[in-house]
Symmetry: C2
Subunit: 519 residues, 2 copies
């Protein structure tokens, strides 16, 4: 039953003075709401409706927090759009509540499993992929051709291998390799090569004269992929042994063969859901993101945490305005301090570039009813559910989160940079919510896309993996949708279900976060 035909506006908290119009096509002027409120003007779908008169300068409250201040008096029944609001001031990073919220006392969730590829380091892959690590963009053309040949000639011989991923990136010389922040893209590339979906294997292609030398990318003796004494499995294009282009391609293809043999011999094993490392993200958001899909993801996150697994949430600029919610939910004061440290670093990074904080909200966000970053933040943080924040991960710094549970992986909000950094932190499953719609996909990891609205889920029926719009339609609760998503994740993790992005082979680029200048 689709209940959106009767006028419906969703209020997130009883103290809110705005609600969000759920009906497709919005609601016309003169519409009478179930409680008798009459609309003074048309309010588009997903946009805010004033439930009470709001005086000039008065707070506009949603999620029980101020999302703006009225520039002029707003009468009940009005459309509360961005041009009527002053953005709340940035929340200062001093005097925050630190680890003040007691962790939820949850029963552990037991009995949930998936079938994955168990790696030597104990991590578990959801896919069985051959990755080709590269040190520099210079080699990308050659690696691309070698990967095509491996796909065409070798993969049919190794049917248990899911694919070949060329880890192409824009890193090259002409970067300030020792400037502050320059370690971030380097460690990101290092750690992404060890994503659980790559089976603990390494095939590297380098040029020879690049700044990021193989030994710098993979220091000897410090990494699972390069235990003490192990030589690197590296094809260096400038090596004197390479005579002609095809010898380079042949060398890469030949080196791939024994790895494919080993990968092909692997079998999925049933493991606990605690081996999930789920990265959550939203993009192309609308006001429904914070009402349907993101709260459902939050419920899923709680389930994964209760099952002993790991959930990473990210997007510095999108959670910045809800920082007090994060610090208060930190498991320990040290974790709260780490949250502050990361967001403070990011504040300074943005200030150095004189970036306008308000610029995060895109035209699409605004058209979708999100007035500003403050409102967007409330809807974004809800993806993290309600677990205590167990640890904080600076961008690209660690191969895996320090511990299981809910992790704040501090990354830029840019979809591709965030996804790349989550991959580098050991993500083996990606959940992406969208209200406006994006065909986002990654070669290295399945991406489960969750639509915020039924209309989008219908129209993009072969791009969206789950419809959280049923929440707004009154057909499913947030909890039910969260559980459905959790179960879908286990199916996808087990390879029993492929995501739409996998079926169409939709692969977005890896994009490195490099705060240092190029030269």
């Amino acid at each position: 039953m689709n209940t959106t035909r009767r006028p419906l506006a969703i209020r997130m908290h009883p103290a809110d003075n705005v609600a969000v119009v759920a009906n497709e096509g919005g609601l016309a002027a003169g519409t009478v709401m179930p409680d008798g409120l009459v609309l003074r003007e048309k309010v588009p779908q997903a946009h805010k409706l004033a439930l009470t008169d709001i005086e000039a300068g008065g707070v506009v409250r949603r999620y029980n927090v101020p999302v703006g201040y009225a520039k002029r008096a707003i009468a009940a029944g009005s459309w509360v759009h961005e041009r009527l609001l002053d953005i709340p001031a940035a929340r200062a990073l001093e005097g925050l509540p630190m680890a003040t919220v007691p962790a939820p006392t949850w029963e552990p969730l037991e009995g949930y499993t998936f079938d994955g590829y168990v790696n030597p380091d104990g991590s578990v892959g959801t896919r069985n992929l051959l990755a080709i690590t590269t040190t520099v963009q210079c080699v990308a053309g050659v690696v691309g051709i070698a990967a095509e040949r491996i796909r065409a000639e070798l993969l049919p011989l190794y049917p248990n291998v899911d694919g070949v991923v060329a880890l192409e990136h824009s890193y090259g010389c002409g970067v300030a390799i020792d400037a502050p922040g320059a370690e971030i893209p380097q460690r990101t590339l290092r750690h992404i090569s060890m994503n659980p979906n790559f089976g603990g294997e390494l095939l590297m292609v380098s040029l020879g004269c690049e700044k990021l030398q193989p030994d710098r990318l993979m220091p000897p003796g410090t990494l699972p992929l390069r235990p003490a004494g192990a030589t690197l499995n590296n094809v260096c294009l400038q090596d004197a042994t390479h005579v002609g282009f095809m010898s380079m391609v042949d060398d890469i293809v030949q080196r791939a063969r024994p790895i494919l043999e080993r990968l092909n011999a692997r079998r999925r094993q049933t493991v606990s859901a605690s081996k999930l490392v789920v990265g959550v993200q939203c993009g192309g958001s609308d006001a429904f993101s914070g009402i349907t899909a993101n709260p459902a993801v939050g419920k899923m996150a709680d389930l994964v945490v209760r099952a002993g697994g790991t959930v990473m949430f990210s997007e510095n600029t999108e959670v910045r305005d809800a920082v007090d919610q994060l610090t208060s939910r930190a498991a320990t004061p040290e974790v709260a301090e780490a949250i502050v440290r990361e967001l403070d670093w990011y504040d300074h990074y943005l200030a150095r570039g004189r970036a306008d904080r308000a610029a995060n909200t895109t035209p699409g966000n605004k058209a979708g009813g999100l007035s500003n970053i403050a409102e967007k933040a409330m809807g974004s943080v809800v993806k993290s559910g309600s677990a205590a924040i167990a640890s904080v991960l600076p961008p690209g710094e660690k191969l895996r989160p320090d511990q299981t549970g809910l992790v704040f992986a501090a990354t830029p909000a840019s979809d591709f940079i965030c996804g790349t950094l989550q991959l580098a932190a050991g993500m083996n499953l990606h959940v992406f919510t969208t209200g406006r719609g994006t065909p986002y996909g990654l070669a290295a990891c399945p991406v489960v896309k969750v639509a915020t609205r039924t209309e989008l889920a219908r129209r993009w029926h072969d791009l969206m993996d789950l419809n959280a719009g049923r929440i707004a339609d009154g057909e499913q609760t947030i909890e039910e949708t969260g559980m459905a998503l959790f179960k879908l994740l286990l199916e996808v993790a087990s390879g029993r279900q492929r995501t739409w992005a996998e079926r169409w082979r939709l692969h977005n680029a890896l994009v490195l976060f490099n705060p240092a200048p190029v030269t």
Copy 2:
């Protein structure tokens, strides 16, 4: 005849106190040079040999300029490596010679032509390509699949079209779109869509909710691709008309068809060599870059300028230490001031990121005998030949250089960023010199690769298009090699010869220069 078997060290100027060893494998300790100098130690190929005793603190002179100061006394016959040298201080940007060198009084070079595709705006393509412009990385997966379908299904029907180029890039939301410097990637994308090799056609794919809206990327009425009143030929994936993934792909493919019809009907016409817009670049350099390939490129540049054409040279950090050579060669004081303005902006950009100026020199450069950026600069600037610098192009700012002749296109030195910005400035032919070797290629434009050494040209026989190593071998003069390169460019521009990168379809990524932060 290969003359490198006898000991050979090349001195660039009579006043130099070092020369560069030309022999493959270097020269052993005890080797007696033709002038009687005895080597005190082994000197590797392409590395510097002290021709005289140099006292501690003394200047080490090459190209008749200081490339370093001796940290301790260096005896004649020694290997002068980077650890013996202090780097010269950065040349200040005040008190420079401004437009002091009279322009060469050259005879115009007439009678040289190529067969190109004449565009409505008067520019000339060297290839006949269908480009697909994109507003945001989100659409890259869909566009990649559509491009593959166009290649497989449509291109065979339009044999006169050389290929399909999806202009994929990492720009997305999560960028500070209005921060200082953020205009650079936007105008780069705008102008790259109008590269002469794309025939003045536009096929754009947008998402719908991105910050960089189609109207912002291609403002109405201000561009050749969007004359006043013209609507954009844009496929917006979020449009309500798209039901399902395949409808998006189909839409792109269908929109491509009439453009392919028009492109296919075009014929090459004989035009003057003055229609060449050559971008020159070096990468994977060694000490031979500045002795063989780059001087030959300089001679080619002079020929193109004499023929009335345009040559762009770039790479801010690699020319920075030769700034006085550039300002003195400026055609007018205004051009000299523009050079200073661009390099000053770049100095500040690097200082803001606390980048180490010395970090430009890569491990490969150093292994190849280039001690530091000062020495590298001397070898880099020589690519620009000896014409007066006619104009200066800030990164991505203009669709075409203001005028023909020698142009300083101020870009970062990063190969891929520089190439991307030169494409955005109307480059229709790219010349790339390399000493260590790189398989560099671009989808949008032929790249002619010039090897600095015969050994590399032999080993990479199917990647290097011209061997400038013959200069060091004594087989060809710099002038002869420059003329051979000029004639090769006309063949490549005419489509009669394809470069190796084209034959293998080696395509490196477009990489945008974005000085603004990500968010």
